[in-house]
């Protein structure tokens, strides 16, 4: 077992950190307050091929394998303080672009991957519906055969990137009897297809620069070229997406944890109370030590799951373990960071409170903590 980081991986991390610090952190308090999605910064990220990290070079991406993709997103999470923007990149890459790489036809790859990699196009995954969350395959959105294609009717909600998307990766019932077991199909649908309405973005607690919204489809026609992974392949495709998302998206959380740790160490060493730095008070230093332990444990779990992504048929349990631990660790460490920074941590100006708000969603999206425990228990035969 070799835990060393290669020179190429170090160079990748350094280039992303340098880029993010220089380009992505301006006017963030205002953008967060106004819930502004920074399309111009997305375009800059596209110039770096960050939306196409795992896309083969022949289709315009960086061609990174899974562990390198996780490391790149970790670096982005560390250096880019706009977690909403990083989340949007993850929501585009992991449950939308990666499935096209894995399951797309040659025609689909040629049509979509270059634009999705270079920042021209944004993708949104459309799975959740108003009455389905954890029970995702209880969906009611239907795709009814019409000639060679389908007509799709239904409503999707909490679709990350939905309000700014160019391409929808949408799941719909093609056989209501079979549902999870062969009854759900994935479709690639241009956002501006006739019959699609996107609601205004939904206001939320954190990740406010990443828009999400509700998408309604009224008898939307799609041709056979829209089917991704074959008719009835939706559950397999979704499981594969979740393996990637629960691993690589939470690599970004690892990066955030490292940034919060550094800020907390720096603050504790310089903030003086009772005539000495607050780092010399065990109540503070112990909190920071715990933050370090959580960071290192989360990183190992994420790296192991990411390493297995391209070496195992499924990393379902590993991904759930990584996701569960990392999301809860980030939430705890964010709260600790606020507490260590005291009144300054509570104020917007120090940009610690935003990290706390941004961290809450991690225990909900990509499957709640409760669902991750269910998945882990199932793999244990319980």
């Amino acid at each position: 077992m070799d835990f060393s980081i290669s020179e190429e991986q170090k160079a990748l991390r350094d280039s992303i950190v340098q880029f993010a610090r220089k380009e992505l952190n301006q006017n963030l308090i205002e953008r967060d307050r106004e819930q502004q999605f920074p399309r111009d910064l997305w375009t800059k990220c596209g110039e770096m091929r960050l939306p196409g990290l795992a896309v083969p070079e022949e289709y315009g991406g960086l061609g990174l394998e899974s562990l390198d993709t996780a490391m790149a997103l970790e670096a982005l999470g560390y250096a880019c303080e706009d977690s909403g923007l990083v989340f949007s990149i993850c929501a585009h890459l992991l449950p939308c672009v990666v499935p096209i790489v894995k399951y797309g036809t040659e025609e689909q790859k040629r049509r979509w991957l270059p634009g999705l990699s270079n920042g021209e196009l944004i993708a949104a995954n459309c799975m959740t519906e108003p009455n389905t969350g954890s029970d995702a395959f209880a969906m009611i959105t239907k795709a009814v055969p019409d000639g060679d294609g389908y007509r799709i009717t239904g409503t999707k909600t909490f679709s990350s990137n939905g309000p700014v998307a160019d391409l929808l990766v949408l799941f719909a019932l093609t056989d209501a009897e079979k549902r999870y077991h062969g009854g759900v199909t994935t479709f690639l649908i241009p956002r501006h297809s006739e019959g699609i309405t996107v609601s205004k973005k939904i206001e939320k607690l954190g990740l406010r620069t990443s828009p999400f919204g509700e998408i309604s489809l009224d008898n939307v026609y799609v041709g056979p070229e829209a089917i991704l992974g074959g008719v009835g392949g939706g559950s397999t495709l979704f499981a594969h997406s979740m393996d990637w998302e629960r691993t690589c998206l939470f690599a970004f959380n690892v990066g955030v944890m490292e940034r919060l740790l550094e800020k907390s160490v720096g603050y504790a060493r310089t903030r003086q109370q009772f005539g000495k730095p607050i780092s010399q008070f065990p109540a503070i230093s112990a909190k920071i030590a715990d933050m370090k332990v959580r960071l290192e444990a989360a990183r190992l779990l994420v790296y192991r799951a990411a390493w297995k992504l391209t070496r195992s048929r499924t990393v379902s349990m590993d991904a759930s373990i990584a996701k569960l631990f990392t999301s809860e660790a980030l939430l705890t460490s964010s709260l600790d960071a606020v507490q260590i920074h005291g009144g300054y941590g509570y104020s917007t100006e120090y940009q610690i409170e935003r990290a706390l708000r941004d961290s809450v969603g991690g225990t909900i999206y990509s499957g709640t903590s409760e669902m991750q425990r269910n998945i882990i228990a199932s793999w244990l035969g319980l």
Binding site: Y103, F137, K178, Y180, H181, G182, G183, G229, G230, V231, G232, G233, G234, S235, T236, L237, A239, H240, R313, T314, S316, N374, I375, S378, W379, G381
Partner: protein, 84 residues
Amino acid sequence: METSEIRAVVREYILKEFLPGEDPEALTDDLQLVSGRILDSLATLRVVAFLEEKFGFEFEAHEVGVQNLDSIDLMVKFVEEKKR
């Protein structure tokens, strides 16, 4: 691997993982596992991973469905087709 061997391997796995403590006689080769709600979505994911690893093939996305997984008979038939 002979059909009977494949059947025995699949049967043993289903019994051990999803019907612990049940009478083995109750698991007939045509017992509906998905339609009968013995295999839910997570269980199906585990079965697919097991079959792929044990018999060395990969399901296409659209092949993960009741048509191939609803009974031991269907699983054995599918494994044989994929191994052919």
